[in-house]
């Protein structure tokens, strides 16, 4: 059973992060077990050292329908490497001695259902995971069968919205009090290219004008400083996944992570 202290710590980690309104916030996603099975903690340690605000750890899945080619490939490789949930929770036992940044697990419903929703939630809290992102779990199913466990264990659930999500539905998401709202920047699977377009700006403005109480972070297709800077003017931060994974050098994880984060944090000359 989750203690009140654990639950408060989790909320605090997320709240503290979003309180810093003056800086561009960056979430980095990586696939657990990629490039090599035991790289999870190496990557966590490297991210802890860099200017990264939130960490998303991807649970590799055989059928990731909401992901583009990069994350499909890293997931396949991670599964071939032998990654599974037991292994991941084992690796994450030392998570909170490595970093105090908010950490979310991202996966698919079937990962959770097969593990057992309650057992999964319990493990998340034990290792210090703050919340979950399950892109194939719509709100309806969340309310029907997941919510009671997430709330019991104090885990935040992150819902996704898109440019086509109605205002009514966005208000409903906001009322769920998730860790943040995951704004999909365009109607596409992960890994597409970011272009500054009037439609996208209109989307950013529309969401900003709604004055939502839940922080918003925008993801899918953000890979450089210009995009990071732009979206932070409207939202509470950006999520970078595919571009980060593409830049990982298996022979020099720490160095390639340092270079990548520095690159996305620095305006090009």
């Amino acid at each position: 059973m989750v203690t009140i202290n654990q639950s408060q710590t989790m909320n605090n980690r997320i709240e503290q992060t979003f309180k810093q309104k003056d800086k561009e916030k960056l979430t980095i996603y990586f696939t657990a077990g990629y490039p090599a099975l035991e790289d999870t903690n190496t990557i966590l340690k490297a991210l802890e050292k860099e200017d990264v605000d939130i960490i998303e750890i991807g649970i590799p899945y055989s059928d990731p329908i909401a992901d583009g080619p990069t994350i499909q490939e890293t997931s396949m490789k991670a599964l071939e490497n032998g990654m599974n949930l037991d292994k991941l929770f084992e690796q994450l036992k030392g998570l909170r001695s490595i970093t105090q940044k908010p950490v979310f697990l991202m996966g698919y419903c079937n990962n959770v259902l097969k593990y057992g929703t309650e057992a999964f939630c319990k493990k998340c809290v034990e290792v210090g995971v703050d919340g979950l992102i399950l892109p194939d779990m719509p709100m309806n199913e969340y309310q029907l069968q997941f919510k009671k466990f997430f709330e019991q264990y104090g885990l935040k659930n992150v819902f996704l919205i898109t440019p086509k999500t109605s205002e009514e539905r966005i208000r409903e998401v906001d009322a769920q009090n998730g860790g943040f709202i995951y704004m999909v920047s365009s109607s596409s699977t992960t890994g597409g290219s970011w272009q500054d377009s009037p439609e996208r700006l209109a989307y950013l403005e529309r969401i900003k004008d709604m004055n939502l109480k839940t922080p918003q972070m925008i993801g899918f297709g953000i890979s450089d400083y210009a995009a990071l800077k732009l979206v932070n003017q409207y939202t509470d931060g950006a999520i970078v996944g595919s571009a980060f994974l593409r830049n990982l050098d298996p022979d020099n994880l720490e160095g390639s992570i340092k270079t990548f984060i520095k690159g996305i944090r620095t305006e090009e000359a």
Partner: protein, 396 residues
């Protein structure tokens, strides 16, 4: 006696199975379909157009044929519902025509579909050619190599065949790729799912389009037997669309025994099987909660069957419910048993069946019939596409 009431509920569930586990990106499409599909398909003008195409284009009603020599062998009165005589050679066209009409009503001009062996791909390409719709069929790279005649058929019909090179490069990956394409092209595209799988409302919508099969069986039995229900309905199950169609009007008539036949591949415990109900467990696959074959860690495992149409790691949520509620009896048939039964039907009745249907035929061996039992077996497809499989089997 408890009264059966098997139907999908407002959330898209049959008991604990079903629902719509979809990324938010697909929500507008699925919501539109969910809100519109019943209105569209129950509209008299739609029904008139659908029925007229089924009659004049597909060739319905398909005959209900009393197979006398087969009956003599198994000691029951066995009728074959001849879905193999449909245009394009299988029941798949019923759903493809229905959904293509729905797409037109929704104002969508582009169609995508997934296919394994190519039967649903050919049916969809056919419906699109007929209605002047653009068509892209996703097909696993491995299946493209294995099923080249159907690939060429789709191309002749004007469809683009797009290889799915992710994952295991077979049907489940073709389905993933089709869903991803839909996510990226939500506005003008309708996804014609080929079986009673996928997020709500697909399982119910496909079941309704295939239910013309049991609707005709009722009328034809009435004419031939003076009563509209048999003692048994037998059908093979991959995703389960032909079985759903053959069972539909009998779901709530408990006097009719429903026999669903899955592919055991090299044997249920061989590690090479597609017997989902025997080896699977509850989980989420392609947008619905159902029974699927998966590892202890919840990774979807690759199925195996000699028949590409049954080579799928899940079953539709309706069938998962029929299994757990024991409304249907599930049987498992190996590659060899299915091939023997396919050759047997060819010799006894002059009908070369699809190897999928061979599984349903082989299951006749597993049932103890009483004299006078009336059995309807859904002959879901013809064997032309499987000629190479017959040749490789060789034992005829």
């Amino acid at each position: 006696m408890s009264k059966l009431d098997i139907k999908v509920d407002e959330n898209g569930y049959y008991g604990e199975f079903g629902g719509a586990y979809i990324p938010e990106l697909l929500h507008p499409n699925i919501e539109e379909l969910r809100d519109q599909y019943l209105k569209i398909i129950e509209e008299p003008g739609f029904q008139e157009e659908f029925k007229s195409l089924l009659k004049d284009y597909v060739g319905r009603p398909t005959p209900l044929f009393l197979a006398k020599r087969l009956s003599a062998k198994y000691g029951a009165k066995i009728y074959l519902k001849r879905e193999d005589l449909n245009h394009t050679g299988a029941h798949k066209i019923n759903n493809a025509i229905g959904q293509a009409l729905v797409a037109k009503k929704l104002g969508k001009r582009k169609i995508i579909a997934e296919t394994g062996a190519g039967q649903h791909g050919v049916a969809t390409a056919t419906a699109c050619a007929l209605m002047g719709l653009e068509c892209i069929v996703f097909m696993g790279e491995k299946d493209i190599d294995r099923q080249s005649p159907n690939v060429e058929r789709m191309k002749i019909l004007g469809a683009e065949v797009r290889p799915a090179s992710s994952g295991s490069k077979t049907l489940k990956d073709a389905t993933n790729e089709a869903m991803r394409h839909w996510i990226n092209n939500p506005n003008d595209t309708h996804y014609i799912i080929g079986s009673v799988v996928g997020p709500h409302p697909y399982p119910d919508m496909v079941t309704r389009f295939q239910s013309v099969i049991s609707e005709e069986i009722m009328q034809q039995l009435q004419e031939q037997e003076g009563k509209n229900s048999p003692d048994y309905v037998v059908a093979c199950v991959g995703g389960g669309s032909n079985a759903a169609g053959a069972f539909y009007h009998y779901l709530n008539n408990e006097k009719v025994k429903l026999i669903a036949v899955e592919a055991a591949g090299h044997g249920i415990d061989s590690g090479e099987t597609a017997a989902t109900t025997a080896k699977g467990s509850s989980g989420v696959l392609h947008g619905s909660k159902t029974l699927l074959m998966q590892s202890d860690d919840g990774q979807v495992t690759e199925p195996y069957s000699i028949s590409a149409g049954l080579d799928y790691p899940g079953i539709g949520p309706l069938h998962a419910f029929l299994y757990t509620s024991k409304r249907a009896q599930f049987e498992y048939v190996t590659d060899d048993e299915a091939m023997q039964a396919s050759v047997e039907l060819s010799k006894l009745e002059g009908i070369i069946p699809a190897v999928e249907t061979g599984h349903a035929l082989a299951a006749l061996n597993n049932i103890k019939f009483k004299e006078g039992d009336i059995v309807v077996l859904n002959l879901s497809g013809r064997g032309d596409k499987d000629l190479q499989t017959y040749i490789n089997y060789g034992n005829y």
